[in-house]
């Protein structure tokens, strides 16, 4: 539990996400969204999410440098235009706020949704989605290795029969999706998922002062940003 305490409550993260959406999409000065990004770096730092901070800093730094070189030094790239670079640069604050929200422990998210009386099916769906990506990543890795092993990834094979190659990936993945969802459903049934009545969570916690303060400060700063910078 201790480690989770550094992170903000889901409600605060949701508030940060909503304010970020408003700031990024309503501002009249899209070039000034770096201010929102800077604020989000502070939000991540306040939660001691150093790894996320460093990752986004590198990503945002590279995009900023590319944008600077394109605009002021005439850099031209074969694959990406100024539009692509700007789009990613502009949307980085949204990615940061979204990542901050979805990186909350699944138990904490389910607890939040249980508290706001979301249906059990929706909460279960949320948990399955969170398990889905890491599970599928492992499955894809296994599938790729098996394809290498069976000789299904050679250029001749792929180019001569692209439809078959697509089928070799898609069909086993779909079947694994079905098998995994079936096994998860059995696991859920065996663990009382259909119990009627209220549902609580291990991670359930009341909003702390720091959560309210963080959400209020962030939302207030976005409001000031929009008031000063202008709204579309």
């Amino acid at each position: 539990m201790e480690k989770k305490k550094a992170g903000f409550a889901v409600a605060a993260r949701l508030c940060v996400f909503a304010a970020t959406l408003a700031g990024v999409f309503l501002t009249d000065g899209t070039d000034r969204t770096w201010i929102i990004a800077a604020m989000l770096f502070c939000v991540l730092a306040a939660q001691k999410a150093w790894k996320q901070c460093a990752g986004f800093a590198v990503f945002y730094g590279i995009l900023s440098l590319l944008l600077y070189l394109i605009r002021f030094h005439g850099l031209r790239m074969a694959a990406f235009s100024e539009f692509h670079v700007f789009l990613f640069w502009w949307l980085t604050p949204v990615f940061m706020a979204a990542w901050n929200l979805v990186s909350a422990p699944p138990g904490m998210l389910s607890a939040f949704f249980a508290r706001v009386h979301a249906p059990t099916g929706a909460i279960l769906g949320l948990l399955v989605i969170f398990r889905f990506f890491p599970t599928m990543r492992a499955e894809l890795h296994g599938l790729r290795e098996s394809m290498h092993n069976r000789g299904l990834t050679g250029p001749a094979q792929v180019l001569r029969r692209p439809g078959n190659t697509f089928e070799y990936i898609l069909v086993p993945m779909l079947l694994r999706c079905l098998q995994i969802s079936d096994q998860l459903a059995v696991s859920a049934a065996a663990r009382g998922i259909d119990t009627p009545g209220p549902r609580h969570s291990y991670y359930e916690q009341k909003l702390r002062v720091r959560d309210i303060l963080a959400a209020a400060l962030y939302a207030g700063a976005i409001l000031v940003f929009l008031l000063i910078g202008g709204v579309k």
């Binding site: 138990g107 890491p134 079947l175 096994q183 459903a185 059995v186 049934a189 663990r191 119990t195 969570s201």
Partner: protein, 467 residues
């Protein structure tokens, strides 16, 4: 505690698979269902934990009581409080990415208060010695640790009965030993344990009774002593694994010999800053079946993947017939069958699968038919590989390897979770392929398999003296 009175069951749309079972299990007793695959062991555990017919629909007749109450009168969520379930593959039953969330999941569902959820979760984590794993993502745990988390998760809700469906299918010998200790602790605390299992040695100290299931009937009951006295021939005849712990046989070491068909010289593997293994010297020649063994985490699978070109070595060299080959070329010569067969098949039928990328000449077709017959898969040739049982998938993977025509065949734990009969089929096939001039490597902890077919041994993480 558990009473089955003339219980019969048929899955929806299928023939009955359980016939007139009578069974009484006392509180605190440990009962183990044994027997060949596909004879009803798993179904019996599902009937006891209520998943059949609640989830696995079908027709149930007879009386099934838990603690004196007819199971049909207890809603499934109420059964979840009384009966904890642990399945074969813990990976596929996790809902959370981290320990506490996973252990708490059942308690959260059952409507316990926040404080009770925390007390139960933290209590079970502490009792089972899992505190050190709190901050480790579940995907990164070893198979044994994952199984322990699955048990903790079932235990947190406070059931008096536990059902285990082949809980050691994915575990090595050491992890199975640890699981045995966990179950022994549950038994000491008065829990009733019902286990369906092929591997028997880890249960010999624990079980009160072994019930032999054949054709959906309980046909014989063994005490641990009676089972231990069963001759090897009799055990094999009724499709059982050896009940007593089998020591790996003394075999010549497969260390480096110049001129062998496949050689690894001073091969190292590092991932980031972590050294998986270093300076591996190994060789194997046609006609040999080499058992690659060693504790979990010593890099057996990684080594196999390097040999077959699915991974690149960090240092040293891999040679075939004395020539150093890059990974891409190695893949043309080596077939690798992973332990997890779920992502290994690509076509809509068993027969298509074994013929994938092979010429469809009569000779190849006849060889494929013959291989499928020998592996007991011919009658399933039109079935989709995904619909096969675990043992059938293992055999299909073996068939694909045999028919691939490659010179080195590597099988990763091909007998995990298999009964004695299937183990024999696989060991015979490996022996046959070696006699046909193939070089066979088998990553295994299975001493019975080693005894049945291996000619050499390669111990990862430290050598043991060979003969």
């Amino acid at each position: 505690m558990i009473e089955l009175e003339n219980v019969s069951f048929a899955y929806a749309g299928e023939e009955p698979c359980i016939h007139g079972v009578d069974l009484r299990v006392a509180a605190g007793e440990c009962v183990v269902f044994i027997g060949r695959s596909g004879n009803g062991k798993t179904t019996l555990t599902r009937l006891i934990n209520g998943l059949a017919p609640y989830y696995y629909e079908g027709t149930l007749s007879g009386k099934l009581r838990i603690g004196g109450t007819d199971l049909a009168e207890i809603p499934q969520w109420e059964r979840a409080k009384q009966i904890g379930c642990v399945f074969q593959d813990p990976r596929s039953q996790f809902f959370s990415a981290e320990l506490a969330g996973e252990v708490a999941f059942g308690c959260e569902n059952l409507g316990f208060s926040v404080q009770e959820i925390r007390d139960r979760t933290d209590g079970v984590i502490r009792t089972m010695g899992l505190d050190a794993l709190r901050n480790t993502p579940l995907d990164r745990l070893s198979s044994g640790e994952k199984q322990k988390v699955a048990i903790a998760s079932a235990r947190a809700a406070g059931p008096r009965i536990f059902t285990f469906d082949e809980p050691t299918a994915n575990l090595d010998e050491e992890s199975a030993g640890q699981l045995s200790e966990t179950l022994a602790e549950l038994k000491r605390q008065g829990h009733t344990l019902v286990v369906a299992e092929h591997r028997l040695s880890w249960l010999m100290e624990l079980a009160d009774r072994f019930l032999y299931v054949d054709g959906g009937r309980l046909v014989r009951e063994f005490s641990p002593r009676e089972l231990a006295l069963l001759s090897a021939g009799e055990a094999a005849r009724i499709g059982l694994r050896r009940p007593c712990k089998t020591e790996p046989p003394l075999l010549p070491a497969a260390d480096c010999r110049t001129g062998a068909a496949a050689e690894a010289r001073r091969v190292c593997c590092t991932v980031g800053r972590k050294t998986i293994f270093r300076d591996i010297d190994f060789s194997a020649s046609p006609g040999e079946v080499v058992a690659v063994t060693g504790r979990n985490g010593t890099g057996k699978t990684t080594f196999a993947k390097i040999l077959c070109g699915l991974r690149r070595e960090s240092g040293g060299s891999v040679l075939f017939s004395g020539k150093r080959l890059p990974p891409g070329r190695r893949r043309e010569r080596v077939f690798y069958s992973a332990n997890d067969t779920n992502t290994q098949f690509f076509t809509p039928s068993v027969e298509e699968e074994v013929l994938l990328l092979l010429p469809r000449r009569e000779k190849e077709l006849e060889r494929a038919r013959e291989t499928l017959r020998r592996l007991g898969l011919y009658e399933y040739r039109t079935r989709h590989p995904a619909t096969l049982s675990g043992g059938q998938k293992q055999r299909l993977s073996l068939a694909c390897g045999v028919l691939s025509g490659r010179e080195l065949l590597i099988f990763d734990e091909p007998t995990s979770g298999l009964d004695g009969g299937n183990m024999k089929i696989i060991s015979d096939m490996l022996k046959q392929e070696a006699e046909n001039g193939k070089t066979v490597l088998v990553i295994t902890h299975d001493a019975e398999l080693m005894e049945a077919c291996c000619t050499h041994i390669f111990q990862m993480g430290g050598y043991r003296p060979g003969r």
